[in-house]
């Protein structure tokens, strides 16, 4: 029967998906994620002030203060207490950060909130200048025209990307997630292969299906679970950010989740065959750490290059590493998120990954088929040279 790998994949997905350890660790990840997003949104809730305005002059200035503050990215909410005494109480209780009394005095509790005070002073200065000019006999419209001067332009030597910092954080989280996910699920492939070998169940399986079908099913089943978990984390993360209306919610976040998912698929399939080989050449599961060492080194090194690429996505190291299949899944995503990767380099990198995977799978399957039924110490060279099973 063709498609028997689907039965294998389904077992991997279901058995591992209902493993208590898996469920608990996924739940913890989600809790931490939701917690971090909610916390950042509460703590990082931009600059926001409550201003009490008393008296007609104050009320007239209130709207101008709100507008002027908004231009600087500061949110100001107006309170209108009945009289000065009520305004004083509001400031004293902390309900208001400051009070503007009759357009003449600013009242604060102790340390003045500098940004708010600066905005009020600017608006007040403008108002009073206007009144002074009107008193000299100029008409209101002439005064307004004279005061409506454009602000000084700001020029920066490097192109300014307002989202750069936020994107770097997102890219870092993406690299971290990819690193964890590639490692965890690659390890599962190796451990799954080693478990079947050590428990000898593999002989029962191989009396029924071919090694290539078993391996394909295992890799696809585990890969699907990894993708599903990542998707769940992404959806919950985005959903939470949306709900709490977090300001730290870059519009590119959905795109980033897509990039991470895509590179998980490319990276996982590249590494999965190699992890399967690492699992197939051990006799006891305890030896897995040893045979996985070369893979561990490559992934950890790629991870560090990936972290580095978050800081400096345009460096030669990052550029080169982002197209080499072993490191691409951990380096390319940050370059994409930070807008450093050109379309053709992304295409080149993805194609190289796919090509390398296609080239590796038959070799990995061959070694796996030969090694998985052998016990004792296995040398790779010996397995490659050896006769068929």
């Amino acid at each position: 029967m063709r498609g028997v790998w689907r039965v294998v994949a389904r077992r991997e997905f279901v058995e591992r998906g209902r493993d208590r350890g898996f469920i608990i660790s996924t739940a913890i990840t989600l809790l931490v994620l939701v917690g971090v997003i909610v916390l950042t949104s509460v703590l990082g809730r931009g600059t926001r002030f409550d201003l009490a305005v008393v008296g007609e002059a104050s009320t007239a200035m209130g709207d101008e203060i709100v507008t002027a503050a908004a231009a600087l990215g500061i949110e100001v909410d107006l309170l209108e207490p009945a009289d000065v005494a009520a305004a004083e109480r509001a400031v004293d209780d902390g309900d208001a950060d400051a009070a503007l009394l009759n357009g003449e005095r600013i009242l604060v509790r102790s340390n003045p909130p500098e940004q708010l005070v600066a905005v009020i002073q600017a608006v007040a200065l403008r108002e009073r200048s206007r009144e002074a000019l009107v008193r000299t006999g100029l008409s209101g419209s002439e005064v307004d025209a004279a005061l409506a001067q454009p602000p000084l332009p700001v020029e920066s030597l490097e192109p300014l990307d307002a989202r750069r910092r936020e994107n770097a954080v997102v890219a870092f989280v993406g690299v971290l997630a990819l690193y964890g996910q590639l490692f965890a699920y690659g390890y599962w492939v190796a451990a799954g292969v080693a478990e079947e070998k050590a428990s000898r169940v593999v002989e029962v399986l191989l009396a029924t299906i071919r090694p290539s079908q078993l391996l394909r099913g295992k890799i696809l089943g585990i890969g699907m679970l990894g993708l599903a978990q990542l998707l769940l984390i992404g959806v919950v993360g985005l959903g939470t950010a949306r709900l709490v209306g977090s300001l730290a919610f870059p519009s590119g976040a959905i795109g980033t989740v897509g990039v991470v998912l895509g590179w998980f698929v490319l990276g996982f399939f590249f590494y999965a065959g190699l992890f399967a080989v690492a699992g197939s050449i051990v006799t006891r599961q305890e030896d897995l750490q040893t045979t996985m060492t070369p893979l561990t080194i490559v992934i950890v090194a790629s991870f560090f290059v990936g972290i580095n690429a978050v800081q400096d996505p345009g460096s030669t190291l990052a550029t080169v590493a982002s197209v080499i299949p072993p490191s691409a899944p951990l380096v390319m995503p940050s370059r994409i998120v930070l807008g450093e990767a050109s379309a053709w380099s992304i295409l080149l990198s993805a194609s190289a990954s796919i090509a390398a995977t296609v080239a590796l799978v038959p070799v990995a399957t061959k070694i796996y088929s030969r090694a998985v039924l052998r016990s004792g110490r296995i040398r790779l060279r010996q397995v490659l040279r050896a006769e068929r099973p």
Binding site: M1, V4, V7, V8, R11, E15, E195, E196, S199, R200, V201, V202, E203, V204, L205, L206, A207, T208, I209, R210, L373, R388, P389
Partner: protein, 296 residues
Amino acid sequence: MLELIGLSRRFGHVVALDDVSFAVAEGEIVGFVGPNGAGKTTAMRIVLGVLTPDAGEVRWRGAPVDAATRRRFGYLPEERGLYPKMRVLDQLVYLARLHGFASDEARRRAERTVELLGVAERRRDRAETLSLGNQQRVQLAAALVHAPEVLVLDEPFSGLDPVGVDVLSGVLREQAAEGVPVVFSSHQLELVERLCESVVLIDRGRVLASGRIADLRAADPRRLVRVEVAGAAPGWARGLAGVRVLEPLPEGAILELTDHAREREVLDAAREAGEVRHFSVIQPSLTEIFRRAVQR
């Protein structure tokens, strides 16, 4: 008919199988016997396609066996293997599905098989929590869950208690009665004798003898006598002319009579040595045939 034709296989310099041929008819139970390392497991693995032969082939109903055919075979490997953390019933459903059954049918068959092997009450437990004997039963269930056309069992009786041996013997007889060819290896030759009409005797990768046990016995030219004597001095039979002690018993021995030795003379000697409790001319047991064949 399941046929093994001229199977040869070496591992490096070790010849595991050297031109091994034998056949198992449908409905026949064949015992596959031989010393450790004789090549039994290698031959069985080749039948199941787990190993490939250097030469020779396996045929089922006249056609060479391929992957699709093998999925209808049942196999109990020498190295038992179950998923330790998977529930008993789930493993059997999974294996039935690998053998090509749809989900519902696979579940029905798994339920039926755990009933058959007496492990139904453990079907929701993880395999690792079962006793070795019960794991063995689950392993057998794994070989039987897809109602195989052919059964190949490597040491199916090892590790079973007498009740388990009876259950398995019954299952094998039922399978054979339904027309399934059954071949199993075992070192418990009395069991083989009870269960099989035919045996294949293998040593160092070569078939030494095969056929009906009755024919092998008839072909054995030795005259054997079983004597039990109470109160005899140990070694009383050793000095008798033309008599060889084949196997000492607690109070007696199985003797091989060569050349001119006569049963009557042996009986007289036994009477002189002590009180004769038992004296009979016997046919060689499978154990005797096995020893003789392997010694050569």
